[in-house]
């Protein structure tokens, strides 16, 4: 049982009135892994998550949670999932502890264990102070944490959270991030977010989808290599950039200029070079650019963030789309 993946999605399609929101997505998540789910607005993230939880039926394809198919055994599959939807809907007129008690009963936690378990999650989410407050009067940060507490309440093997850190201040984001990290190894977590540094810090693996397709997946480091090329150097240089490629080819044949800026008042322009080599090329570059006709002011090796990866991956998929359209 434990060697079945926590989540297995194969060839998932969801169409709304003929328009595919999710188009042929397949992925699997191992037990104990934290997966970040990225994509621009309307990419199909929330739809995919809703299908995973059994809330929406898929048009075609299959989803299984811990080996239980969601479509044919929804009740059993839902027992394995803690879910926090987008915008974290909560009843306005219940107290925090009442709400958790009600949810715990619905999730079939025995009455005996429920009291201590509620204390545990209140402690973990730092909600002890507000346990008797009415949810409708709580601030956004507290409400968000009530949602997270509710998702982990029944200790499900799989937790799905749709934008858990939206609308939180940096301090609260830190608390939520620590909370999610503390689940690593014990529970499988899928989180979607727009806050990319967030995902980069918490997630073992990242899945980027755009317009219903998976456009990239892997660890943040893998993605960086795959999508942006191996390494990127940024330099500020004065001189004729068209004379540069032969010089660069002498340093490393795969070194290319990927972006060039306009020259400033002093004649220096920003250039971006990409290479597929992994080792440090800074010193050979410096030596090569000491050639007559060039003046070098700055050279640095860029450390691309997940944001760059995300932008590049989603842009790439648009280009592919545009090419298809042009052919058609």
């Amino acid at each position: 049982m434990s060697d079945t993946p926590a989540i297995e999605v194969s060839r998932l399609v969801k169409a709304y009135a003929g328009v595919a929101a999710v188009n042929d997505i397949s992925f699997r998540v191992a037990r104990g892994e934290i997966l970040g789910f990225l994509g621009p607005n309307g990419a199909g993230k929330s739809t995919t998550m809703r299908i995973l939880t059994g809330y929406l039926p898929a048009t075609s394809g299959s989803v299984s949670i811990c080996g239980v198919p969601v479509a044919s055994q929804p009740g059993e599959a839902k027992r394995h999932i803690g879910y926090m939807p987008e915008n974290n809907p909560l009843p306005e007129d219940m107290r925090v502890s009442e709400y958790l008690y009600f949810r715990g009963r619905l999730k079939e936690i025995p009455r005996r264990k429920l009291g201590p378990r509620i204390d545990e999650v209140l402690e973990a989410c730092d909600l002890k102070r507000v346990r008797h407050k009415i949810i409708g009067r709580l601030s956004k940060g507290f409400r968000q944490r009530v949602g997270i507490a509710e998702a982990i309440l029944a200790e499900p093997p799989v937790i799905i959270m749709d934008e858990p850190t939206i609308g939180l201040d940096p301090h609260q984001i830190l608390i939520v991030r620590d909370l999610i990290s503390s689940l690593r190894g014990r529970m499988t977590v899928i989180i979607s977010s727009h806050i990319l540094p967030e995902i980069e810090m918490t997630c073992d693996r990242v899945l980027i989808i755009n317009q219903g397709h998976v456009v990239a997946q892997g660890t943040p480091a893998d993605l960086r290599r795959e999508i942006l090329g191996r390494s990127v150097y940024e330099l500020e240089l004065a001189g004729d950039p068209d004379a540069l490629p032969p010089l660069l080819a002498a340093v490393d044949p795969t070194l290319k200029i990927t972006a060039r800026g306009e020259p400033d008042a002093a004649g220096f322009r920003a250039l971006q070079l990409t290479t597929e080599r992994d080792e440090e090329l800074g010193e050979p570059l410096l030596r090569a650019l000491a050639a007559p006709g060039f003046r070098l002011r700055a050279l640095s090796r860029a450390h691309p963030t997940l944001e760059d990866v995300f932008l590049a991956a989603t842009r790439r998929s648009w280009d592919v789309k545009a090419d298809e359209l042009r052919k058609a």
Partner: protein
């Protein structure tokens, strides 16, 4: 049905903390109180042929029109508006359990409110010391009618609540449905064009669903199983449509 009791107790609690419940309860008891005192006054002026219980239940439809929408309009509409239906349906509960829980809670409250009017008769009997006023046959028949027809009315309310995410719209749909079912059947039965021979099967059907006539039968002490069947089947149908309504909205959300 494992979660039915959990959901039911949750829904009852939610109704009890909701102001619209108290508005409905106060308005209902005030109105019924006025009806009752008015009725007593007419009894004190001149002897009447009909039993007080019979007269009392003559006006049952009026509070139903207002009370049932107020009790039920929030149930499913509010869950959809807040989005909590999503968290609810991603636990191991079924849509049927959710709908039945909401229905059960509203029905229970409806019964309690009508039960409170039993106090009027108790007070009357206590202070007049005359047991003739407490005509048990019509009284029990009347309350039985309220309980049985309430099953159907509340189910209609839950159904209208499943149609919209706006409470007010749900309430108005419910009001219109109730007026249509209670008033419409009565109006049709009285309309002369239905009395033609060629339409006699239709006329029979309309006579059969006349809710006001059912009330007269019950308060006379006649309990007809055909009428019980009418309310039971109407209830089941309305609840099935509510469940389908909730699920259809998910499919097209």
């Amino acid at each position: 049905m494992k979660h039915f009791l959990t959901l039911l107790s949750h829904e009852v609690r939610m109704l009890l903390v909701n102001p619209s419940t108290y508005i409905a309860a106060t308005a209902f008891l005030l109105f019924m109180g006025f009806m009752f005192t008015g009725m007593l006054e007419s009894y004190s002026k001149a002897p009447q042929e009909l039993s007080p219980a019979y007269v009392f239940f003559q006006f049952f439809w009026f509070p139903v029109f207002f009370m049932v929408p107020l009790l039920t309009m929030k149930s499913l509409a509010e869950e959809r508006r807040l989005g909590t239906i999503e968290t609810l349906l991603t636990t191991p509960v079924t849509t049927t359990e959710v709908v039945l829980g909401k229905y059960g809670a509203a029905y229970l409250l409806y019964l309690i409110l009508w039960g409170a009017t039993g106090g009027f008769f108790y007070i009357l009997q206590k202070f007049s010391g005359d047991s003739r006023f407490l005509d048990t046959g019509p009284l029990l028949g009347g309350y039985l009618f309220v309980a049985v027809s309430g099953l159907f009315f509340i189910a209609l309310g839950v159904f209208s609540s499943s149609l919209s995410r706006n409470q007010a719209v749900a309430g108005i749909i419910c009001f219109v449905l109730l007026v249509g079912v209670v008033g419409g059947s009565n109006y049709l039965a009285d309309s002369p064009w239905l009395s033609r021979d060629s339409l006699s099967p239709l006329k029979d059907a309309v006579d059969y669903v006349q809710i006001l006539a059912h009330r007269d039968d019950f308060t006379r002490g006649v309990v007809d199983t055909r009428q019980l069947l009418f309310y039971a089947s109407g209830t089941v149908l309305a609840l099935i449509f509510s469940i389908l309504g909730v699920e259809a909205k998910l499919l097209h959300s």
